[in-house]
């Protein structure tokens, strides 16, 4: 009865009061409006970023000292820049990344291996340093209050097989690698058969096996670790695409009297996803670490505009290449000690996890790098026969979805 009286008395005001479940304010979105007003007031106070007209938190800052375009290498450059600056906050670094989720980046789609068995001494040196970095990653990339990184570094080594033609080159390379300090050993087919009984050593003249600092790890973990650390060091991240470089050029004369036009980039236009909005970022240095797409970025900067055949006319010789990588399951496959085996025919594979799964492919074909579709027929025709020839146990494998 009391309720009936209440309803009678407060009938007209009920709708405004919101008694019960009737809410008239939902279409007006009061909560959203109040929080927006609060944000605006907060931005007016000293210390907040001032954007009275609209929210610009997704845009990069208007100025930055170094703009890095890129993936994991870009993050690494940013890390070392920040690590080596004399005082904290001396250099302002902005990392521009087209895809925040890194779904199409080379890093996360890669096999994730690290090896020292290169033919250039500089590569070997870099790789040795990277191995040391990865081993001590929790000292390099430590962030307060965050869990340590687990890279799942499997130091199983690389096993490169060489046929008769390539044996001499391999021997030379191994000598160079040993000089640089990598621990690599050469094995004859008999030693190979004894160590890895599951390998079919037909056609193999020489094999080089990395004993230390080689193997594979989880590249996604490295990426996230770098991002986390960089955010804690004060690097600004921005999701966007670099569309333009504004540069200023000046005419100079070299010592030999040749007239040159020297260009200097001083502004980068970063375009936001799914919109025409772009932000010009004034900068002093631009680092192009875009990996497979660095050729496109270089073209934006004007590298390669000139008569062909001259230095001005040479584009940056980086083009994206697509490779397929397959994951399969084989219960009778090689065991835990299997390294990443690379066949002279171009096929390679490695163990993935502890459930008899393997990851591998063949590095010869060059499919169209336009999309990231995987062609399973390629596996049937090209990769599987080579794998089966090298490791007889792989005749009974089954491809899982990748």
């Amino acid at each position: 009865m009391l309720r009936r009286a209440l309803r009678l008395r407060l009938g007209p005001c009920l709708s405004g009061r919101g008694l019960g479940t009737y809410r008239r304010g939902s279409t007006l979105d009061w909560d959203g409006k109040v929080s927006e007003i609060k944000k605006k007031i907060q931005s007016i106070f000293p210390g907040g970023a001032w954007n009275p007209l609209y929210d610009t938190s997704h845009l990069p800052p208007e100025r930055s000292d170094v703009v890095i375009v890129g993936g994991v290498l870009g993050l690494s450059v940013a890390y070392w820049l920040k690590r080596l600056e004399k005082q904290q906050g001396a250099i302002r670094v902005l990392v521009v990344e087209r895809d925040h989720t890194y779904a199409r980046a080379s890093t996360v789609l890669s096999v994730g291996g690290i090896r020292q068995q290169f033919s250039l001494p500089q590569n070997v040196q870099l790789s040795l340093f990277s191995a040391e970095f990865l081993r001590n990653i929790n000292e390099y990339l430590a962030v307060v209050d965050d869990p340590p990184l687990d890279l799942q570094f499997n130091p199983s080594g690389y096993l490169l097989l060489a046929s008769e033609e390539g044996a001499a080159i391999m021997e030379r390379n191994v000598k160079m690698q040993r000089q640089e300090g990598a621990k690599v050993c050469l094995m004859s087919p008999e030693q190979l058969q004894k160590k890895f009984p599951w390998i079919n050593t037909e056609g193999v003249a020489l094999a080089s096996y990395g004993l230390e600092n080689e193997g594979w790890f989880d590249p996604w973990c490295l990426l996230q670790g770098l991002r986390r650390k960089l955010q804690s060091m004060g690097v600004l991240f921005c999701q966007g695409e670099v569309t333009r470089f504004i540069s200023s050029s000046s005419h100079m004369e070299t010592a030999s009297g040749e007239q040159l036009t020297l260009k200097r980039i001083h502004e980068v236009h970063v375009k936001m996803d799914h919109s025409q909005e772009f932000q010009p970022v004034e900068c002093a240095i631009v680092v192009n670490a875009a990996g497979a797409w660095s050729g496109q970025i270089a073209e934006l900067a004007g590298v390669g505009n000139g008569p062909p055949g001259t230095m001005q006319g040479t584009k940056l010789p980086v083009e994206p290449r697509k490779r397929y990588v397959y994951l399969w399951h084989c219960p009778q496959g090689p065991g835990l000690e299997a390294p990443l085996v690379a066949d002279p025919s171009g096929a390679y594979f490695r163990r993935e996890g502890l459930g008899n799964n393997y990851v591998g492919s063949c590095s010869e074909e060059e499919p169209d790098p336009g999309n990231l579709e995987v062609d399973y027929d390629f596996f049937q025709e090209k990769v599987w026969p080579r794998l089966a020839q090298r490791v007889p146990a792989f005749e009974t494998l089954k491809v899982t979805d990748r």
Binding site: W50, P61, E62, R63, E85, K86, A90, I91, A284
Partner: protein, 459 residues
């Protein structure tokens, strides 16, 4: 006095009605001519001031500041040419108009005969400066900087208005000529304490005093080059000039009221000098060095001895020219590299040797090398504070050492060493820039030969 004000006002139609290609040439040339006429003010009578009318006058305190102000306008115009070259024509003319109106207000401020007129123009100078900082500054933080600048100064100076009106009501007139004779000793009472504070705080904020200096690094760093130049060279000196004028009527309270501010300034000058050693941003370093030099001026004005007054005025002029020159040099760096971080542009001596000469001269005058007027100012202040209290000489000595440290640090960081690889294609110095630097340093060096004109009324 009208012979300066009317031409300055007429510079504005000159800008708006000039041909497009001639706006810079016209305004720079004519403002240079006006600055030469300001030298006529030097012809002062004995101990009286040069009175033009009941409204305007100039004495040997305001004369050097006035000459500095008028000298600075052509320099500001020269410095702004590059970064405004991409703006559209109306914006350029607006910018020049802002500079000219700022100049106008400053001329009238330095020659105002009456304190209320001085106050009105003191506040009026804020408006063009704010517009210059917020509209033509470089980064998003400039809005924050403008806010800090505006509200710090306003909050400090509103009590000054109240105090001035009170004094006008009690004493009868705020005209300088009459104020000198009608001033009565201010006795110690609470209301007088607040009146003293009200009078002084505006100028303390402007100087700036160490505890109230937060607006200065922001405003100096975010302002465009002309804004930085006029801020460092002239607007800071407005505070000093105001303090020198207003202490006339505040005796003898200043003797004990000044203690906390003297302490703050003595401590602050060492603190801000030390901060300079840790700066990574070039303009920020120069801004903090301004705070440090001005702290010396505050100490000098507050201890109120003849020598300290002479040191204060000399230091104001010297610092004005030096700071302005340093900002111009930093700007020439910025225009090439598009970044103010010091470590990104090193070893410039190998690439731009003539500019390195200007850097050297500016750094040497900044660290008060004898026989420049910087040293004369600092020396007078050091000597008078020593006689005021013996211990201050330790603080002053430490400050001079640290000043030398950061000036040389700035010089060596930007000029010496191997140049960073990415600046090998910067354009060489323009004649305009060299002219700008030489026009800054030439008066400074010439004044070394005849410093008595900047030593103020107590010489």
């Amino acid at each position: 006095m009208l012979k300066y004000i009317i031409p300055t006002i007429m510079l504005m139609p000159l800008t708006w009605l000039s041909k497009n290609s001639m706006i810079w040439v016209n305004s720079t040339a004519h403002s240079l001519l006006i600055s030469f006429t300001s030298l006529l003010l030097m012809n002062q009578f004995g101990d009286n001031s040069l009175n033009f009318s009941l409204v305007f006058f100039s004495d040997s305190l305001s004369t050097p500041l006035l000459i500095l102000t008028m000298w600075l306008l052509p320099l500001m115009l020269m410095a702004s040419q590059h970064h405004l070259s991409k703006e559209n024509l109306t914006r350029k003319k607006l910018f020049i108009t802002m500079l000219i109106s700022l100049q106008l207000f400053l001329i009238m401020t330095f020659t105002a005969m009456e304190l209320i007129l001085f106050y009105i123009l003191f506040e009026a100078t804020l408006v063009p400066t704010l517009i210059i900082i917020t509209r033509w500054g470089n980064q998003t933080e400039r809005l924050n900087a403008g806010l800090y600048f505006l509200f710090y100064t306003l909050a400090g100076s509103l009590p000054l208005l109240v105090a001035l009106i009170y004094i006008q009501n009690t004493v009868g007139s705020l005209n300088f000529l009459m104020l000198q004779y009608w001033v009565q000793p201010v006795h110690n009472s609470w209301s007088n304490v607040f009146m003293w504070l009200a009078c002084m705080m505006a100028f303390m904020v402007k100087m700036p005093l160490y505890g109230l200096h937060l607006w200065l690094p922001k405003a100096h760093v975010e302002a465009p080059i002309a804004g930085s130049m006029v801020l460092a060279a002239v607007l800071l000196k407005l505070g000093g000039y105001g303090m020198l004028r207003i202490t006339l009527i505040l005796n003898p309270m200043t003797d004990f009221m000044a203690y906390p501010f003297i302490m703050l300034s003595l401590w602050g000058m060492i603190m801000t000098s030390s901060i300079c050693l840790r700066q990574t941003d070039l303009k920020s370093l120069i801004a903090y060095s301004s705070v440090s030099h001005m702290a010396l001026v505050i100490v000098a004005i507050l201890i109120q001895t003849p020598w300290s007054y002479m040191g204060a005025t000399a230091l104001m002029i010297a610092h004005g020219l030096t700071s302005s020159m340093l900002f111009c040099l930093a700007n020439s760096n910025y225009e090439r590299i598009h970044s103010r971080t010091m470590i990104l542009a090193r070893g410039l001596q190998t690439l731009l040797p003539l500019m390195a000469t200007w850097w050297l001269l500016a750094s040497l005058t900044n660290l008060a090398l004898p026989p420049t007027i910087n040293l004369i100012g600092e020396l007078f202040v050091v000597m008078s504070t020593f006689s005021w209290s013996n211990i201050t000489i330790i603080l002053m000595g430490v400050n001079m050492v640290i000043t030398a440290l950061y000036s040389l640090y700035m010089l060596i960081m930007t000029q010496r060493g191997k140049y960073t690889y990415h600046i090998n294609n910067i354009s060489p110095s323009f004649t305009r820039e060299n002219a700008l630097m030489s026009l800054h340093i030439l008066p400074l060096l010439l004044l070394t030969l005849n410093p008595k004109i900047i030593l103020g009324p107590l010489y």
